[in-house]
């Protein structure tokens, strides 16, 4: 009798909760890959959530009718269609529509021909929609180059308020020259950040790109340093102002012993890129065997007075440069600023402030 009851009740239980439904159509709308012929590429394309940037040789292609091929999320559709020629003299906006038709995403595709300038004035800033933070970009011969990156996109997930001033990396009107300077401030990541052992986010700004998807799992690998550079750097110059806040705390949020003040870091690195290692990242930018030359601020202590302080640092070469490889864009340059020197390992002081303006790579 009891068995009978059991057999009556168990099917009732499962019929109410039901079975696994057929898989729904995909909701994502990503550009997964961009196929560009190796012959036209100076550096592989960088794909973010809303943009694709690649340095290409305009002399090797017809930029007014170039047809990149895209791999998108399964079932998604891209418009204009993959393989249909477009005029890339200015960036082209593509829209990816999800398989289920409910979601779409715009990508700005930039094919840049001019290698990056060697002067950086931080005058031009672009606001990332929704997340609402600023990132500087460069204009070279009328071409907008989004070569600067920061960790702001990672911070946007925990940002208490999505406004430009809430982010660790911002623009500041407190400039040495022109309208703006780069302004980096070490920020608290709040309760959520503290629980994952990332209690603070140092302001950082660098030449390269930021892989936001790794900012929680492998933050050192999220910073992809380096943009193609075809000249030999000699000196790294610019102006900065640094105001460290209180004593440094570690990744658990407790002050380090012995107590010390925060320091900033400012450096430039030239390295040889390879197909399997197109970038260096936070874990190897100063130590990798492919690093050719480094120019680093000798000490990141507080600057005196209330104004900017100039710096002029000579690149120290660890090896020889091959002129043919240099001309063929085999080398990459990164310039890196941070408001807390050990910010990558989440050591620093919340409130440390670094202003930087009018930076230059003096070339041979």
């Amino acid at each position: 009798m009891k068995n009978t009851i059991f057999y009556l009740i168990i099917p009732a239980f499962f019929s109410l909760s039901g079975c696994i439904k057929p898989e729904a159509e995909n909701m994502e709308a990503d550009i997964v890959k961009v196929d560009l012929p190796d012959s036209v590429l100076i550096a592989p394309p960088v794909i973010s959530n809303n943009s694709v940037t690649a340095f290409v040789r305009y002399d090797k292609l017809d930029i007014t009718a170039f047809a990149p091929k895209f791999v998108v999320t399964d079932g998604a559709r891209i418009s204009p269609a993959s393989g249909v020629p477009q005029n890339f003299t200015t960036p082209v906006t593509y829209t990816v529509y999800s398989e289920d038709g409910k979601w779409q995403k715009n990508y700005k595709i930039s094919l840049l021909q001019n290698t990056v300038s060697n002067t950086f004035a931080f005058e031009n800033w672009t606001l990332t929609p929704e997340a609402n933070y600023n990132t500087p970009y460069e204009i070279v011969n009328g071409e907008n180059q989004n070569v600067w990156a920061s960790g702001n996109s990672g911070f946007s997930l925990v940002a208490p308020e999505k406004k430009p001033e809430a982010y660790p990396t911002q623009r500041s009107p407190n400039a040495l020259e022109g309208n703006y300077a780069a302004y980096l401030e070490t920020k608290s990541t709040g309760a959520l950040g503290a629980l994952v052992g990332m209690p603070l986010a140092a302001g950082n700004l660098f030449l390269g790109s930021f892989d936001g998807s790794k900012s929680l799992t492998a933050p050192l690998e999220a910073t992809l340093f380096g943009i193609p550079f075809n000249k030999k750097p000699l000196r790294f110059t610019g102006s900065y102002r640094y105001l460290p806040a209180g004593p440094v705390t570690d990744k658990t949020g407790t002050p380090v012993s012995p107590q010390r003040d925060d320091q900033c870091d400012i450096y430039a690195v030239l390295f040889k890129a390879s197909a399997d290692k197109p970038y260096l990242n936070g874990s190897n930018i100063l130590t990798d065997q492919n690093v050719v030359a480094v120019a680093q601020l000798p000490n990141g202590n507080q600057t005196s007075g209330s104004g900017y302080h100039p710096f002029d640092i000579t690149f120290k070469y660890r090896g020889e440069i091959d002129p043919a490889d240099l001309a063929g864009y085999a080398y990459k340059l990164s310039i890196i600023f941070t408001s807390s020197k050990n910010g990558a390992t989440f050591e620093g002081a919340v409130g440390s402030k670094l202003y930087v303006d009018d930076v230059k790579i003096v070339i041979e």
């Binding site: 009798m1 009891k2 009851i5 059991f6 009740i9 168990i10 009732a12 239980f13 109410l16 909760s17 039901g18 079975c19 696994i20 439904k21 057929p22 898989e23 729904a24 995909n26 909701m27 994502e28 709308a29 990503d30 959530n49 999800s98 979601w103 779409q104 995403k105 929704e130 997340a131 996109s153 990672g154 946007s156 997930l157 925990v158 208490p160 709040g190 309760a191 959520l192 629980l195 994952v196 936001g212 998807s213 790794k214 900012s215 929680l216 799992t217 492998a218």
Partner: protein, 248 residues
């Protein structure tokens, strides 16, 4: 769990003598101990859940003191006070599962909200003080069936879990992609303080005093509070309770 055990131990000595003292022929008193198996589950598995990789009912205890009032004929009325636990641990593979990671801070203000692809582990264990009211029907056999309604007061709440080996997209399915090794959530404070529903069951007399019982209950009220949006489908308690009782 500990709290419930303490309550059980505390009330147990008081139950038996009192029941014996008050016992008369009209009104039957009984005590019943049992365990539950079931789930706090969506009704119809949402399409975002692709595979239930594991399910562990856990040890869910119940203890009740009941009254049975036989009416003329075969019908009767019954009520009880029951201390019970409802819960489970499940692991599911999900695709585009809307959720919130608050890392156990239980704060609604700071959290990652978005769509998750990967493995979600959910641990539910709630303790309730339940008042059922049943109509009963006794067959000309050891069997009595009963059906009715229940209302439960939440005594202890735990609804937590983690997401593993996947990624979340910020806010929308096309938002910023963020890889996740392990991210925790805790919605314990979002469990409704009152849970009510229907139950059906049966008692099977083993001898003049002992009986076996089975009771299936289904909560009509959702498990979580009305304004809770971190999971985009309602969950309902759906449990089978098996036990043995003693009639005084």
């Amino acid at each position: 769990m500990k709290k419930l055990n303490v309550i059980l131990l505390a009330i147990l000595p008081f139950l038996t003598p009192e029941i014996k003292a008050q016992s008369d022929k009209k009104l039957n008193f009984n005590v019943r101990a049992g365990f539950s198996i079931g789930a706090s589950t969506p009704i119809g598995i949402p399409v975002t859940i692709r595979k239930i990789e594991s399910y562990n009912p856990g040890l869910l205890l119940s203890l009740e003191a009941g009254l049975h009032y036989p009416l003329p004929g075969k019908f009767g009325l019954a009520t009880a006070l029951r201390l019970e636990q409802k819960g489970m641990t499940t692991q599911s593979r999900v695709k585009g599962y809307y959720t919130t990671f608050n890392e156990g801070s239980n704060s609604r203000s700071q959290s990652i909200i978005g769509y998750f692809w990967g493995t979600v582990e959910t641990k539910v264990k709630n303790s309730y003080l339940t008042l059922p009211i049943h109509a009963t029907y006794a067959f000309n056999s050891p069997l009595t069936v009963k059906a009715g309604a229940f209302v439960s007061l939440l005594l202890e709440n735990n609804f937590s879990g983690k997401a593993r080996n996947g990624y979340v997209r910020d806010q929308t399915p096309v938002g910023l992609k963020e890889e996740i090794d392990e991210a925790y959530y805790d919605f314990s404070k979002e469990v409704r303080p009152v849970n009510a529903g229907v139950e059906i069951g049966a008692d099977y007399r083993l001898n003049s005093r002992l009986f076996a019982s089975a009771m299936f209950n289904y909560a009509l009220t959702p498990l979580m509070k009305k304004d809770f949006q971190s999971i985009d489908f309602d969950l309902h308690n759906l449990y089978l309770n098996l036990g043995v009782g003693y009639r005084f």
